[in-house]
């Protein structure tokens, strides 16, 4: 049999590598900026486009989809061709994939600062971009499967199982979570409401971590670790065990983001137990990686690239142990909503994704440029900058998380909150925020050093766009001829079946959790006194979403005495039935607002307070780190779409009467006039009823107002 000659497409790998490096630096820079805003709120220079609520989604999207996303594609395009002994299926699809993805990133970088957002975490991009993402993702899958189908290798290596699972699961998550009805090009309302929206969102959010930040990187680890160490993979059986158990179990664990909320208890418990079961499958990946280094640990001493891999894998192991611990309800009761969670995700992002990406970049770039790395010393310096950066980031944030979480819960001997003023607990942790920003800066400096080093490396060599290779063609075997060495070899020869079985494994968890929550009425008990938003409140809510208030303020009072005393009656599922999308939030940089409109709550503030607070938060709350929102006071709201908004909400099941959309504008004006008149007559503050602040006040005064407290406390 003759060997066939072909070539690997290195240019597409180079392009994704360059995009990874550039977007990485951009994403981390935005991270350092918002980290600094969390102790020096003036750092947005009172500019709306770079205020925290709008930049934070930009940071997360840039890191997840631009930095890590491009890194995935770089690694997949490099390893897939070599593992399948063939060129990518289509150069055109590769190009569409590359440029399409960059265009999506650019459109995200434009729309998010403009306040065009759905508010759903890591899925903030509006519906036209969502459609583009789905299309480009299909192009990626098409190209990948095309390559697999014309392979010259019989069996699919474990890395490719992970790539396939990534492809099918991310497609499923993205499509389901993006269901929404549009109002014009730049706005949409989620198809799901309240508790159900929360469940879908965290099914997505949790598994975006699982199938965008974890499985593809495990695939990369399985290819690059043995390559870098020149050692065999420790255990083939372990890779089978942890692959299938990981993808099957991960999908169920989403509800652990909603512990002690109004999500039904059985769903919360599912989230807890599946998180516990995830420890071993997650560690399987770390073990197989670290044990692959057996007999090669001496190399780690000299090779900084392997150091990145080892620390990255260790960070993965730590984060995946910590995750299940945070999913225990009693740990979660303290950790949730605090900086602890921020520390946890950054162990994953900076440690696992960041360090692995750096290692892969250092591995690939000299090879495709046929040269040696420009400075080995710089890699070593980068390694220490990155590691110190992670420590300076994580340790202060853990400290801050414990401190604030415990301060929120502390009572005095006579039953009063020790720190009734939320701000007091914020001021306590500000020094930790400063250290965290310093840690981020160290990490960013390291990344810049890497960009310089890679640039110099590329300069010293020449890109080999089409790398020559040869391999024997694949011979079609007769059915009886196949010797099955191990049962799992069967599916490794069948990419289609592997795709189907992966899909079944990841679909089960979602189906079991969603159907009862959507269909069984007792899971979301209705409360008769809860009424839909008035048109002005709805517009105020959309401004709240636009400014990203939910990035710092939760709207979910958990059933703890420390929270009901601070905020008021704990949240009930029936209160959010008209919330498309839900706005529970996941972090309390500021206090919870679920009861901001309930006059029996300590959180209730009158219109004047809100007016002055939005204009200059420091005037009402000295030392506050909330950014000022002067534009809400200066600018008129654009309420031209209120008719459509009411109609769309009705289509989604909100009981506005037929024809109400025609009266909506009138109602809106009337309610706005009432608030403006109150401000003028009772407080002497002159503000026109058209200003956005009026709508925001109306919305805040609607929050948590409708519940009948006297009745529910005894239930």
């Amino acid at each position: 049999m003759q060997k066939e000659s072909f070539s690997y497409d290195n240019k597409i790998v180079r392009n994704f590598a360059a995009a990874t490096a550039i977007w990485g630096v951009v994403g981390m820079l935005v991270g350092v900026i918002i980290a600094s805003q969390l102790f020096e709120p003036y750092l947005n220079f009172n500019t709306r486009y770079i205020s925290f609520g709008r930049l934070r989604p930009l940071h997360t999207n840039a890191i997840i989809f631009a930095f890590v996303g491009n890194a995935i594609f770089m690694g997949v395009y490099y390893s897939l061709q070599r593992l399948m002994k063939t060129r990518m299926y289509s150069d055109t699809l590769s190009k569409i994939h590359f440029w399409g993805w960059q265009l999506i990133i650019v459109s995200a970088a434009i729309t998010l600062p403009l306040g065009i957002t759905t508010s759903k975490e890591y899925a903030e991009l509006e519906w036209p971009i969502d459609i583009a993402i789905a299309l480009i993702w299909v192009v990626f899958g098409w190209n990948m499967f095309g390559t697999i189908y014309k392979r010259r290798e019989k069996h699919l290596y474990v890395a490719i199982w992970f790539y396939i699972a990534t492809f099918v699961t991310v497609a499923m998550l993205h499509i389901v979570n993006s269901f929404a009805l549009p109002i014009g090009l730049f706005k949409s309302y989620s198809a799901f409401a309240g508790v159900q929206d929360a469940l879908v969102q965290w099914w997505y959010g949790h598994n975006a971590v699982a199938f965008f930040l974890t499985t593809p990187f495990l695939g990369l680890m399985y290819y690059f670790m043995p390559k870098m160490a020149n050692r065999p993979i420790y255990s083939y059986k372990l890779s089978i065990l942890h692959f299938w158990s990981l993808i099957f179990l991960y999908i169920w664990a989403g509800p652990h983001h909603l512990l002690y909320t109004s999500l039904p208890g059985w769903a919360q418990n599912l989230g807890v137990v599946f998180s516990i079961m995830l420890i071993a499958p997650s560690w399987g990946g770390m073990l197989n990686g670290l044990l692959t280094l057996r007999g090669a640990w001496d190399k780690v001493r000299d090779d900084a690239i392997l150091k990145f891999m080892v620390v990255g894998l260790t960070a993965y192991g730590m984060a995946t142990f910590e995750g299940p611990m945070l999913s225990l309800k009693n740990v979660n009761a303290i950790a949730h909503f605090t900086d602890w969670i921020v520390a946890h995700v950054h162990i994953g992002a900076l440690g696992w994704n960041g360090l692995l990406t750096f290692a892969v970049l250092y591995y690939i770039v000299p090879r495709i440029y046929e040269t040696n790395i420009y400075s080995k010393k710089a890699i070593n310096v980068h390694f220490w900058l990155a590691t110190m950066g992670i420590l300076f980031y994580a340790i202060p944030m853990y400290f801050s998380g414990f401190t604030q979480g415990l301060m929120w819960k502390e009572f005095t001997a006579d039953g009063m909150l020790r720190y009734p003023n939320f701000l007091e607990t914020t001021l306590q942790v500000l020094p930790m925020h400063m250290l965290r920003a310093f840690g981020g800066l160290l990490y960013l400096t390291g990344a810049c050093l890497m960009v310089w080093n890679l640039w110099k490396t590329a300069k010293s060599g020449k890109l080999v766009p089409n790398e020559a290779a040869e391999a024997y063609p694949l011979v079609k075997e007769e059915p009886g001829e196949v010797q099955v060495a191990y049962w799992h070899r069967w599916i490794e020869r069948r990419p289609t079946q592997l795709l189907i079985f992966s899909f079944i494994a990841v679909a089960i968890g979602g189906v079991v959790e969603f159907i009862p929550t959507f269909l069984v009425e007792s899971n979301v008990k209705t409360i008769p006194s809860v009424v839909p938003y008035s048109p002005l409140e709805l517009e105020g809510r959309d401004i709240y979403i636009r400014e990203g208030c939910n990035n710092c303020h939760s709207q979910q009072v958990r059933p703890f005495r420390s929270e009901t005393v601070r905020y008021g009656e704990y949240s009930k599922a029936g209160e959010n039935v008209y919330d498309h999308p839900f706005l529970w939030g996941s972090k309390r940089t500021g206090p919870d607002l679920a009861r901001a409109g309930n006059t029996s709550s300590k959180m209730y503030k009158d219109a004047e307070w809100h007016y002055r607070h939005m204009k200059d938060p420091r005037s009402t709350s000295p030392g506050s780190i909330m950014p000022a929102y002067p534009w809400l006071i200066e600018e008129d709201g654009d309420y031209s779409k209120i008719t459509d908004k009411i109609t769309v909400m009705r289509k989604l099941g909100v009981p506005y009467e037929q024809g109400y959309e025609k009266l909506a504008k009138e109602d809106l004006d009337e309610q706005a006039l009432q608030i403006a008149t109150y401000l003028l007559e009772a407080k002497g503050i002159k503000v026109a009823k058209e200003k956005e602040i009026i709508a925001v006040i109306a919305y805040l005064h609607k929050l948590g107002r409708d519940i009948n407290v006297k009745q529910t406390t005894t239930n």
């Binding site: 418990n269 079961m277 001997a413 209730y604």
Partner: protein, 295 residues
């Protein structure tokens, strides 16, 4: 007694703060010392089992493997890390390479380390027990149960504290206190609850100035008591009657009275009607005295 065992096993999760309250109720009167005895006995049993295992293993080696082979030497020369992680010696596993390499990458046929499999199945068992306990049996509790237990426990404690206070104070009979201790306690109440709106030293912010002679809802002690207890919701003053005991309200009024006429810098402009207290000479001097150390 019948449900004690599952409780003990899952009791690992029941020991900390939030669960603790509810667990107390769920097991009603189950003594913690018994729990500790159980854990100690359990630990001892585990220790004995492990020792037995080691002894018999050595015995087996002694009986069967008198002659050291090349392989037993390799097993013995493993590093302590390798022993802890129950790994085969490097070199014994190379003959279990799986045949075809992928782009030069070989895979070994090592089984997952035994402790890993223990972790894997152990987590599944724990998860199953957890889920059955909280969703199938009656021994679980919901987060609403936990909340009720937490609030009840706090109420009992608070009641015990309240009994020590004067319960007879209300808006009809309240008189400000001139005891230094009361004024200091009132200052603490003020800082925790009132300062957000009325600012440092009562100079006023979103809430009115409390240091001047102008009052929106009356400056008399009884009137202030009423304002604090019931609030003036439409003007932005919330009701504090559910949060502050009558004694606490009296104390904070006593503190506020000491602020009168202090004229702090940056004070808010007067609001409401002028009201001047009729102060007896005796009271006047006491207030002046208590005023000094409190600031």
């Amino acid at each position: 007694m019948k449900y004690k065992l599952p409780f003990l096993i899952t009791g690992i999760w029941s020991t900390t703060y939030s669960y603790g309250q509810a667990a107390e109720v769920a097991t009603s009167g189950f003594s913690t010392s018994l729990l500790w005895i159980f854990y100690v006995v359990l630990g001892l049993l585990l220790l004995i089992t492990f020792t037995l295992y080691l002894v018999t293993k050595e015995l087996k080696r002694f009986v069967l493997n008198k002659n050291e082979t090349e392989e037993t030497k390799m097993w013995d020369s493993r590093s302590s890390w390798e022993k802890v992680f129950q790994l085969k010696p490097v070199g014994t596993d190379t003959d279990t390479l799986i045949n075809e390499p992928h782009d030069g990458i070989y895979e070994l046929d090592n089984p997952p380390p035994p402790w890993f499999m223990f972790l894997f199945y152990g987590c599944i068992v724990i998860a199953a027990i957890y889920f059955v306990r909280f969703n199938v049996t009656d021994y679980g509790y919901t987060q609403e149960d936990e909340y009720i237990a937490e609030v009840q426990a706090a109420e009992v404690k608070q009641l015990a504290n309240l009994v020590k206070e004067d319960q007879t104070i209300d808006e009809n009979n309240v008189v400000e206190s001139i005891e230094l201790a009361d004024i200091e306690a009132g200052k603490m109440v003020y800082i925790q609850n009132c300062k957000v709106c009325h600012d440092e030293g009562g100079k006023g912010n979103t809430g009115p100035n409390l240091t001047d002679e102008y009052w929106k809802h009356g400056g008399e002690t009884k009137a202030i008591f009423k304002t604090i207890k019931y609030g003036v919701i439409e003007k932005g003053m919330r009701a504090w009657g559910d949060d502050l005991s009558p004694k606490k309200i009296q104390q904070v009024i006593s503190y506020i009275i000491t602020l009168r006429g202090t004229n702090p810098p940056g004070a808010k402009a007067p609001e409401g009607d002028k009201w001047v207290p009729e102060i007896s000479a005796a009271q006047d001097s006491t207030i002046a005295m208590t005023n000094a150390p409190s600031r």
